[in-house]
């Protein structure tokens, strides 16, 4: 029995699936029904009522966005009753709408303008009701950060409220009653907006009520060219359009047909001003003074020629394109003949992907999470590390109500507000926790093993996990970057092997091309296409190797050492070794490197990034700058060195576009539950912030206005004991001290404080030590 039904629309017959709404059937067949509050991103709300159609046999017009089709239904979309109904709704909207089309930024892409044109509104009988002296007099929120709200332009379709609630899961907007008698969109508590500043409300508002302050009055929508490219701030690979006019990026938009469903986070949507030339390296430097490109390239080649192959190392920052990485690999392996290559991916996903169990699917489409009935989020704050996973989890749990959520972390995070089974452990006890969970689950699944741990796992969690048909494993970057991260990876692999092919793995990464670094074979332990290779040189050993004099020259490709090392360790490396530094953005590394060559930013380069789904996303050139792409600089340095880099091999390696990962692990391994020795009463954790991805992201307007300086989060009881109040400045001391503002957060467990990474001027690794994210904290109230 097929579940297709036949319906008649305006006299013609069409086929439809049983669960489709009338609006979906009409849109699929090119029939026009206006709809303002409906969006594919969250389904039907039923607030605007303009999609109403007449159904033969029913007295009142029914909303086509919510009504499902039934066999034999006869629908009229343009009858007189329907048009009258629609026009009345538009008269209501037009009653109070000020004549601001000339100045409003939405003009040209405004839903209200389009509806007025399509319905050909030529009069407004409700105009007499509106007192002209009272229009416009609703609130205009000039004081909000980044987002601008003008309640006079609002038609109260409630799209912003719905998307903030059902897609972003922050829920700060609501339709609030005001003194003048009516209702306006405002924050639920009336305070100025303080949210994630992701801008979904701006992108979905049909009129100019919600708009972006960063784009206010800059340009008209029809003047700008749209260039489709991929975001450079994390491995989600969200597709976005850079709106360019006169060689400047003026704003960022995204379309509904992208894999991320037009959703973008604060960094993606508002932080595009990082690519302005005041934040970029403008000229090559040799030995600290400005120089020109040829001299710098020659000096770089000379440095490489003057050391033996074992004394040279290359580090990729996992933010460049796959083509750049492949060029580096070909140059270093074939010409310099050294295998001292590593990338920033080996701090997290490199560890996990070298112990992948058999049967587990390592690279999955994010939308495939909808097939999973259990989501297991472990080891990191998913919403801060990769917002796209947060949105998909929200969609699964809140909107589609398909999955149960199990979170395993040391504190409550944003996704716990969806309703989850919460498993908690103390920071540093990841391996102990995983072993305990493994033991309990092995018991429930009747698998014989002698791996177990000492942490108590609640019964309901074990039940949910063991009865799952398909599990989505969301693995946080933070857990893999612990000092015993390789053991964490192994314990996790044990757990995944327990479930076998029920697992869909999503290993998050804040670096946009860390998966590309695995594909290109520039990560320790991986060869081209992700094949396993013997581990030769690791990023973790770099400070020691430089200090012992074993590595004398380093080639850094988009790798700002201050993002992973403390200031002291990074300075030591720069002092002792000859560093060749290729990057686009200004950083502290520029001051200390021997040779600095600027390369193109993501807006001026052309290539591919590989995202968490294993997809090869295209990065397109949107603005022209007089700077070479990193791939071309490597080719020129190679040429100066005496090696003709075969460009065809780069293209060939790119054309394959699928990974060849070796998933060898087929039996459980014993893992020592190491842990971290905390001295003192406070445990310190270095966490990732939603508003920073790489130190260079601090220079953009979106991120720096949303959160100017880092905050140290502390439990209320601990704060009271230490005499700290919300907003005080404290000195947090580990290996050295840092002065940060304190914020009291009652979701922090007792005895734990956290500081975020990558805020410019506040290197958290100074406190915790390079490449570790745990430290013993001492807090003192500062002035």
């Amino acid at each position: 029995m097929a579940d297709t039904v036949k319906v008649k629309i305006n006299g013609k017959e069409y086929e439809a699936k049983k669960d489709e709404t009338i609006l979906q059937v009409a849109r699929r067949n090119g029939i026009y029904i206006p709809a303002i509050c409906y969006s594919d991103r969250f389904g039907a709300i039923g607030a605007c009522r303009i999609c109403a159609v007449e159904i033969v046999g029913m007295k009142k017009p029914m909303l086509s966005c919510a009504m499902k089709v039934k066999d034999g239904m006869e629908i009229l979309t343009d009858s007189e009753k329907v048009i009258e109904f629609r026009k009345n709704i538009v008269y209501e909207w037009d009653k109070f709408h000020p004549l601001q089309c000339g100045v409003c930024d939405k003009s040209g892409e405004c839903g209200l303008q389009d509806i007025n044109y399509e319905l050909n509104i030529t009069e407004n009988p409700l105009e007499k009701e509106a007192d002209p002296l009272s229009v416009p007099n609703r609130t205009i929120h000039y004081e909000w950060k980044i987002i601008h709200h003008d309640a006079n332009l609002c038609i109260q379709c409630r799209r912003c409220v719905t998307i903030c609630d059902r897609v972003v899961n922050f829920g700060i907007l609501a339709l609030v009653k005001k003194e003048w008698g009516g209702r306006e969109i405002d924050t639920k508590d009336g305070k100025p907006l303080d949210c994630e500043f992701c801008g979904q409300c701006v992108s979905i508002c049909p009129t100019g009520a919600m708009s972006s302050k960063l784009f206010k009055y800059k340009a008209r929508p029809w003047e700008m060219d749209k260039v489709r490219t991929t975001c450079q701030f994390c491995a989600s690979g969200c597709q976005m359009d850079l709106n360019v006019k006169d060689n400047k990026v003026l704003r960022v938009t995204s379309e509904d047909d992208t894999p991320n469903m037009a959703n973008l986070c604060n960094l993606g949507r508002f932080n595009y001003s990082v690519v302005e030339s005041k934040n970029l390296i403008n000229s090559p430097k040799v030995n600290g003074s400005s120089s020109n490109l040829d001299v710098a390239i020659k000096k770089a080649a000379d440095i490489l020629k003057s050391h033996g192959p074992d004394e040279i190392a290359a580090i990729c920052g996992a933010r460049e394109t796959v083509e750049d990485q492949l060029a580096l690999k070909l140059f270093f392996e074939n010409a310099i003949k050294t295998s001292n290559i590593d990338s920033f991916a080996s701090t997290h996903i490199g560890k996990l992907f070298s112990v992948l169990p058999k049967g587990v699917s390592p690279l999955n489409n994010v939308s495939d999470m909808e097939e999973c009935d259990v989501i297991f989020a472990f080891g990191g704050d998913v919403a801060n590390e990769m917002p796209r996973l947060d949105w998909q989890t929200t969609r699964n749990v809140k909107l589609l109500k398909k999955s149960k959520l199990v979170t395993a972390y040391w504190r409550d995070t944003k996704i716990d507000t969806l309703g989850s089974v919460a498993l908690r452990y103390e920071p540093g006890q990841e391996v102990e926790f995983l072993n305990s969970l493994f033991g309990s689950l092995a018991g429930a699944l009747n698998v014989s093993t002698d791996i177990k741990g000492s942490i108590e796992i609640p019964e309901d969690a074990v039940k949910v996990l063991s009865e799952a048909k398909k599990i989505a494993f969301l693995v946080g970057q933070e857990a893999l970057e612990r000092p015993n991260g390789s053991d964490v990876a192994l314990a996790l692999a044990n757990l995944m092997l327990l479930f076998g092919d029920k697992v869909k793995l999503y290993a998050s990464s804040k670096y946009n091309n860390s998966y590309g670094a695995i594909y290109s074979g520039v990560t320790n332990g991986f060869d081209l296409y992700g094949k396993s290779k013997e581990k030769v040189f690791s990023l973790y050993d770099l400070p020691k190797l430089v200090e012992d004099g074993k590595i004398r020259a380093i080639f850094l490709l988009n790798a700002d050492l201050f993002t992973i090392f403390s200031d002291e360790d990074a300075r030591k490396i720069f002092d002792k070794a000859d560093v060749i530094y290729l990057d686009a953005y200004m950083s502290d590394s520029v001051k200390y490197a021997k040779v600095v060559i600027p390369v193109a930013t993501f807006a001026s380069t052309d290539g591919h990034y590989v995202n968490i789904e294993g997809r090869f996303n295209r990065v397109r050139k949107a603005i022209d700058r007089d700077v070479l792409m990193a791939k071309d600089v490597v080719i020129r340095i190679a040429g100066q060195y005496g090696y003709n880099l075969p460009i065809g091999y780069i293209k060939e390696a790119l054309d394959k576009a699928t990974f060849d990962l070796d998933q060898d692990m087929d039996s459980f391994r014993n893992v020592q539950s190491g842990g971290f020795d905390f001295t003192g009463s406070l445990k310190g954790v270095v966490v990732y912030s939603k508003f920073r991805s790489g130190i260079f992201s601090s220079f953009g307007e979106g991120a720096s206005i949303a959160m100017e300086e880092p905050v140290l989060e502390i439990n209320p009881e601990d704060a009271q004991t230490l005499g700290i109040e919300d907003g005080n400045y404290v000195n947090v001391e580990g290996l050295s001290a840092l002065r940060v503002k304190a914020k009291i957060d009652d979701q922090m467990p007792k005895g734990v404080v956290s500081i975020p990474l990558w805020f410019a001027g506040y290197n958290a690794y100074n406190v915790s030590g390079s490449l570790t994210n745990l430290f013993s904290a001492k807090l003192m109230k500062g002035e």
Binding site: P98, L99, C101, S107, G108, Q113, Y117, N120, I121
Partner: protein, 398 residues
């Protein structure tokens, strides 16, 4: 290989009547193969004034393209505007709703344009053959017409006056009086031109039996307008495929059978007189009323509405920025221009901009008949024939 470029024996010479030439009415490169002084073969080369107008139309909304049509046949801009606008109106299906006053104004403008164009033709044709006086006299009459146009719309040569749905603004005060004055004096002026040229022996020697084209050839080459009416083909779009208010007006179509330059000269001279007759009738018959259709979907609304009503302002923005949505389909409309039949073919996919816009330019087709006309003649006959064909390169090359 075109025969015009191949020399067969020692008597034949190839001569280039180059693009820079005071008598070629624009930029025409005309290559002739001569046997002594007689023309054996020839080849016109066009394209020096190509500006890519048809391609530009694909990036413009229908309203935005209106000024470009002025610049096709820049001597009779009103007629070009008219042909384009009527093609778009046919696509939209609003041809019957154009107010009557607007239709009369359009006819007045079209006929004034015809007279203006024929005056330039007469001036330059006579000048090339040697009669300089006629040139100055006809430009004097043309100034009357151009002053009237300037009163109505503001520019002297390219008007942008006839718009989709009517005309841009109503006629100003004083326009009708000046028109009456003009129609009264024009008959006398035409008589003067006849006195100066028609029986003049030099003129007869230069134009009679020169540039002959037979009736069948004229139809086969596809030329239309005064050039075919000089060869005996009785075809005029205003009478045979009428548009606007032409069915209500009385006028004759002059047809002569000889098929030479002199016949075409007489056709155009009589056409000027007939246009004057049409103008007199229009002055009497023109009614009062609106000059623009009241269809807010397609036409820009008056400023008071835009500045007072928010829905009018919103629609105004959509119409200007995205253009009105024409229904999908294709349409062709041909109008009787002073030079022939100007046709617009528009293919629309339902967007605000046309998918393809093709212009059937009469001058382009007329030039293709030139080799046939000059064959066997002398070099000086080329100039007579060029004058009688009356082409303009803005239209020919687009």
């Amino acid at each position: 290989m075109n025969e015009a470029y191949v020399v067969n024996n020692e008597r034949e010479v190839i001569l280039n009547v180059g693009p820079q030439h005071p008598a070629t009415h624009g930029v025409l490169r005309y290559v002739v193969k001569l046997d002594g002084e007689r023309i054996v073969d020839s080849d016109p080369q066009v394209g020096f004034l190509h500006r890519g107008i048809e391609k530009l139309a694909e990036y413009m909304t229908y309203h935005q393209f209106n000024p470009y049509t002025d610049r096709l046949d820049y001597l009779a801009s009103m007629n070009n505007n008219l042909a384009y606008v009527m093609a778009v109106e046919k696509l939209l299906g609003i041809t019957d709703q154009i107010p009557e006053r607007a239709q009369y104004i359009r006819v007045i403008m079209a006929e004034l344009g015809r007279i203006a164009s024929h005056l330039v033709w007469l001036a330059t044709h006579a000048l090339d053959i040697g009669a300089m006086t006629v040139f100055l006299y006809s430009f004097r009459e043309r100034e009357y017409i151009i002053d009237m146009f300037e009163m109505a719309c503001g520019n002297r040569l390219t008007y942008n006056y006839i718009r989709i749905g009517g005309v841009a603004r109503d006629l100003p005060d004083g326009f009708m009086d000046r028109l009456k004055e003009f129609t009264k004096l024009f008959y006398g002026k035409v008589k003067e031109y006849h006195q100066l040229l028609t029986k003049n022996r030099i003129w007869l020697k230069r134009t009679k039996d020169v540039g002959y084209i037979s009736k069948e050839d004229a139809i086969n080459y596809g030329i239309a307008g005064p050039c075919t009416r000089g060869s005996g083909v009785d075809w005029d779009l205003r009478r045979d495929m009428p548009y606007l208010v032409y069915p209500e007006l009385n006028f004759e179509i002059p047809v002569y059978d000889e098929g030479d330059v002199y016949a075409r000269y007489l056709v155009r001279m009589d056409e000027m007189v007939q246009s004057n007759r049409i103008l007199e009738q229009c002055i009497e018959k023109i009614p009062d009323g609106p000059v623009m259709i009241d269809e807010p979907r397609y036409v820009w609304e008056p400023k008071e509405r835009i500045m007072m009503n928010n829905y009018a302002l919103m629609k105004h923005f959509v119409k200007v920025v995205k253009g009105f949505k024409a229904p999908p389909g294709e349409v062709y409309f041909g109008a009787e221009n002073p030079k022939g039949e100007l046709g617009f073919y528009i293919y629309s996919t339902g967007e605000g901009k046309p998918y393809r816009l093709k212009i059937r330019a009469p001058s382009f087709i007329n030039i293709s008949a030139m080799p046939k006309m000059v064959k066997g003649g002398l070099i000086a006959d080329i100039i007579s024939v060029i004058g009688s064909l009356d082409f303009v390169f803005g239209e020919c090359d687009r």
